[in-house]
């Protein structure tokens, strides 16, 4: 094999030498033979003649030698390529349509593949990333979802679990960094010991924390992100060893992480140790850490789970009060990071693959028609002795040339499309990892190879077959036509499927936009002010700070209302709580669960949520108060006077007096119907709540500078961040939905366009080969209108057949979409009806042109051409 390759390469690149050698070799033979004849008594001229007779044509022998060497194949390829270039250049219309079609198909599908690969297929950027799990604890049987993990418990897990190489944890904290000119908000990840070992990533400069630094009272140390290092230290290597001033304390920089390290997320600026042996960390009910663990090699996640569950059962026996009811849940880190986007991407990938298939089918139909026009030429080739394989090779070369040019252009389109993809999907996980790499190139070449098989091999074989042996021209033409119509039908069916999917998404998006959220985001600006969890040691001071800030904001001209809340309304925030209604009759056994939100005074004004009865939260209430929404009242306190009732939070034991009932608001996201919600009144729910400011201006963005200035006046040491209109944030929550709707719609339109071109092209071709017959019919008295209808019926018939197939496919595909839709079912009949209407109308439009051309055929002219 290797020998063969070396031989062929030598044959290819050292052509002249080899030709000379062959020449010399043959000449030597001829001379030897001639000398032999001369020695046997012939005259030299007679001997030379005899030799030539014996030997035959040296050129033919040379040719056979070249064939024997395998040079012939390459020669043929070069000849075919040259020929393909000429024939393609001769029909620029066809060539351009085919290449552009293919480039669109390959480009779109490469771009989607690239995103799928970066987000869903490629492992997370950690070594052996599949060993990483997110581990959470939850109270068995409680409505509350997973809670954070106490440092003491994490250390127990680390000590007792055997399936893990190591366990660590983190939590995020906003800090103010003041070593620069202005106070800057930085995001700090407080990490448990072993954090970087578990991640398996080392700093690019400097080191990780020492054991001493990981203990309580150790020297404060920080590892900074590549971003912060570039921003603040201009990528100076001497930054390691310098100090930052974070939250009023000096912290030495010991390392810089590589730019690729973005964990827990890409916004983290600084990693610091949260020592598990600190006195305040010993309470087993403290909830701090999100825990990650790295499994031993070849240990499954299930094994890791059962191992930790065993450990936790032991801990439950040891600490029944705090650990008795806790259960463990594990999620692969990748699933926890990427989440539901994977499904959207697979859906888009399936859709774009259908589009590519439509493109290939389209070109196959075009090539068939074109090859049929070349019947004459191919027949001559056969009669000159070309083998069937040679004819297939020649026709295939053209397809290969088209595919290569198409995939090169497609790669260009993919690169542009990737930019658009990243912009559209900016809010989605791992989008920054979507980039141009070699897999994209390999994939698009793979697409080209597959498309050659689909659109090249198939028509070439068909064309070549129809010429073998005694041919029945009419039967062949019929067979080719049937094949072409089948291809058109397939295109229509696939387009209908895509169009149906796009229709469902469009309707779903439209439904979502019509939803009344129950609150008005239009004039609201949101932002946060840096704070630190350490402020929670003095809750009174924290509350004073919040109230001062709120009062200052409310006094600012242009501000209509101001409030704080734990989470941004309209953005999913999973926090359910289990409650007890104090006044409820004891026999009532209904479990009371509600969404938990913490809001300050002015919240309902800021969001324009109407109060149905009672009052809002007040800043100076002497007892814990709460507001419930209408859904809560209707479900748990029907027919009773809600205001004045008391509720108790079962987990914390906190009791609150209900002071009012608000309207329902879709605070979990537009696609979530309002759930029973309890708003606990709390001016300072945490040190960095979301501030919500309702402005008097219609364009809240104009107020951002005023707000920044106002806060700087009263809080010179704190930074304002995430300052954005609420409407913009709500818009972000639709990023995934919008991305898939836009992409699927554009794929569907492209597919429909291609199918229309395919239908038009095929019908035009059929009209052109049946011109003579049409002319005769008309000459014999057929009506032009009958001719028109004849061809129109053919085109529309194929469209309808394709639609039927498409409906069947859509019904199957619809099942896969069901979880992604809002307000429409996966088999929505009106979407079906609209799609069918559109497709048949387009089919008719694409057919009417060629059909009209058929009706205009002039019999005189046709007969004269004969």
């Amino acid at each position: 094999m290797l020998n063969d390759l070396r031989y062929r390469l030598r044959a290819l690149f050292r052509r002249n030498t080899i030709e000379q050698e062959l020449d010399a070799e043959l000449r030597f033979h001829l001379d030897g033979q001639r000398d032999k004849y001369v020695a046997s008594g012939m005259t030299p001229s007679e001997a030379a003649r005899r030799v030539r007779l014996d030997f035959g044509s040296t050129d033919a022998i040379k040719e056979e030698c070249r064939d024997a060497r395998g040079v012939g194949v390459i020669d043929e390829m070069v000849r075919n390529l040259r020929y393909a270039r000429r024939t393609l250049a001769k029909r620029p219309g066809f060539t351009v349509v085919a290449t552009v079609t293919l480039a669109l198909g390959i480009g779109a599908s490469s771009a989607v593949f690239s995103a799928l690969n970066a987000v869903a297929l490629r492992p997370l950027p950690f070594p052996d990333a599949n060993q990483l799990l997110v581990i959470s604890q939850y109270e068995a049987g409680a409505a509350q979802p997973a809670t954070f993990v106490a440092p003491a418990r994490l250390e127990d897990w680390q000590r007792m679990a055997s399936a893990f190489q190591g366990l660590s944890g983190y939590y995020l904290d906003d800090m103010t960094e003041t070593s620069g000119e202005f106070p800057e908000r930085i995001l700090r990840a407080w990490v448990a010991p072993r954090f970087f070992e578990v991640c398996g990533v080392a700093p690019s400069i400097g080191r990780t924390f020492t054991r001493d630094e990981e203990r309580f009272g150790g020297a404060p140390a920080a590892i900074v992100s590549d971003r912060l290092w570039k921003r603040r230290f201009a990528a100076d290597v001497t930054a390691v060893g310098r100090t930052l001033r974070i939250g009023g304390r000096s912290v030495a920089i010991v390392g810089v992480m590589p730019a690729t390290f973005a964990f827990p997320n890409g916004d983290v600026d600084v990693w610091s140790v949260s020592a598990p042996d600190a006195p305040y960390a010993q309470n087993r009910q403290a909830t701090w850490f999100t825990v990650i663990g790295r499994l031993h090699p070849n240990v499954t996640a299930d094994h890791g789970l059962s191992d930790l569950a065993r450990v936790q059962r032991d801990l439950g026996r040891q600490y029944p009060a705090t650990d008795g009811k806790l259960a463990i849940r594990v999620t692969p880190l990748k699933a926890a990071t990427v989440g539901g986007v994977t499904r959207s991407l697979w859906m888009l990938f399936a859709a774009v693959s259908l589009l590519l298939l439509v493109a290939c089918t389209n070109i196959a139909a075009l090539l068939l028609a074109r090859n049929a026009e070349r019947q004459h030429e191919i027949a001559i080739r056969y009669s000159l002795g070309a083998s069937r394989a040679a004819v297939v090779r020649q026709l295939l070369t053209e397809a290969v040339v088209l595919a290569l040019v198409g995939s090169a252009l497609g790669l260009g389109i993919a690169i542009v499309a990737l930019q658009a993809f990243r912009a559209l999907g900016a809010g989605l996980p791992r989008m920054t990892e979507v980039r141009l790499d070699w897999t994209l190139v390999v994939y698009s070449l793979g697409c080209a190879a597959v498309s050659v098989i689909v659109f090249g091999l198939f028509p070439s074989m068909q064309t070549a077959r129809s010429h073998e042996g005694v041919s029945n021209r009419r039967a062949e033409t019929m067979a080719t036509n049937r094949l072409q119509w089948t291809l058109v039908g397939i295109q229509v069916a696939l387009s209908v499927t895509l169009l149906f999917g796009a229709g469902l998404f469009l309707r779903s998006f439209d439904q979502l936009m019509r939803v009344s959220p129950g609150f008005d985001a239009g004039r609201v600006v949101t932002f946060r002010i840096t704070g630190s969890w350490s402020e929670t040691v003095d809750m009174a001071a924290l509350k004073r700070r919040m109230l001062t800030t709120l009062e200052t904001l409310r006094a600012t001209p242009g501000v209509a209302a101001a409030a704080t809340a734990v989470a941004v309304p309209g953005v999913a925030f999973q926090f359910n709580t289990e409650l007890r209604i104090v006044e409820a009759p004891t026999e009532a056994s209904t479990k009371v669960t509600a969404r938990n939100r913490f809001v300050s005074s002015g919240y309902f004004d800021a969001l324009a949520i109407p109060m149905l009865s009672g009052t809002q939260c007040a800043d100076d209430a002497p007892v814990q108060t709460a507001v419930i929404n209408r859904a809560f009242e209707a479900l748990y306190l029907p027919g009773r006077n809600a205001s004045g009732s008391h509720v108790q939070d079962i987990a914390s034991g906190r009791i609150g007096t209900i002071v009012g009932v608000s309207g329902d608001a879709r605070e979990q996201g537009l696609n979530e119907p309002p759930a029973p919600t309890i708003y606990w009144c709390a001016s300072a729910p945490n040190p960095m709540p979301v501030f919500l400011v309702r402005t008097q201006s219609n364009d809240p963005a104009t107020m951002t500078e005023t707000i920044r200035r106002t806060i700087r006046q009263i809080e010179p040491g704190r930074a304002v961040y995430e300052l954005r209109p609420l409407a913009e944030r709500l818009d972000d929550t639709l990023a995934e939905n919008r991305l898939r709707t836009i992409l699927l719609t554009s794929f569907a339109f492209t597919a429909v366009l291609l199918a229309a071109v395919g239908l038009y092209g095929t019908l035009s071709y059929i009209v052109s080969i049946r011109r003579r017959e049409i002319g005769l019919r008309i000459a014999m008295g057929a009506l032009r209108s009958t001719t028109l209808v004849l061809f129109l019926k053919q085109g529309i018939g194929v469209t309808i057949a394709g639609c039927v197939g498409g409906l069947w496919l859509s019904a199957a595909a619809g099942k896969g979409l069901s979880g992604m839709l809002y307000g429409v079912t996966a088999l929505d009949p009106s979407t079906f009806a609209i799609v069918l209407g559109v497709m048949i109308a387009i089919g008719a439009l694409a057919s009417v042109w060629p059909a009209a051309r058929a009706a205009r055929v002039d019999p005189i002219q046709v007969l004269r051409e004969e």
Partner: protein, 110 residues
């Protein structure tokens, strides 16, 4: 000469070339002369197929070419049997003998 000559059965030329090269390297013309001579002029190598066959065998790595000087002091391309070629020759000889034997049995039946 003339009528006594046999046409080479399909596929035997390769075997003959390999066998002829077994004692030592030869150039193309010498190969054709040797076959003719050893077969007592009964086998004549078709001149037109000798060189394509040599090139084919070279490509398969059964013989390897080298340029040398002939008896009459001219540069000539000599072919030598390779290790692979020796194995091939043994295998082909064996199967050819078996074929002859089998055909002989059929012809001698009754």
């Amino acid at each position: 000469m003339g009528d006594e000559r046999l046409d080479l059965p399909q596929g035997t030329l390769d075997l003959l070339i390999l066998r002829t090269l077994a004692p030592g390297p030869l150039h193309g013309w010498a190969i054709s002369e040797r076959i003719q001579q050893v077969s007592r002029e009964m086998l004549q190598v078709p001149q037109g197929s000798l060189y394509p066959a040599l090139h084919r065998l070279e490509r398969r790595g059964w013989i390897s070419p080298q340029w040398g000087v002939s008896d009459n002091n001219r540069k000539a391309k000599y072919y030598a049997l390779t290790r692979k070629g020796e194995k091939r020759l043994a295998a082909e000889t064996h199967s050819w003998r078996k074929l002859i034997g089998a055909v002989g049995l059929i012809l001698d039946m009754d």
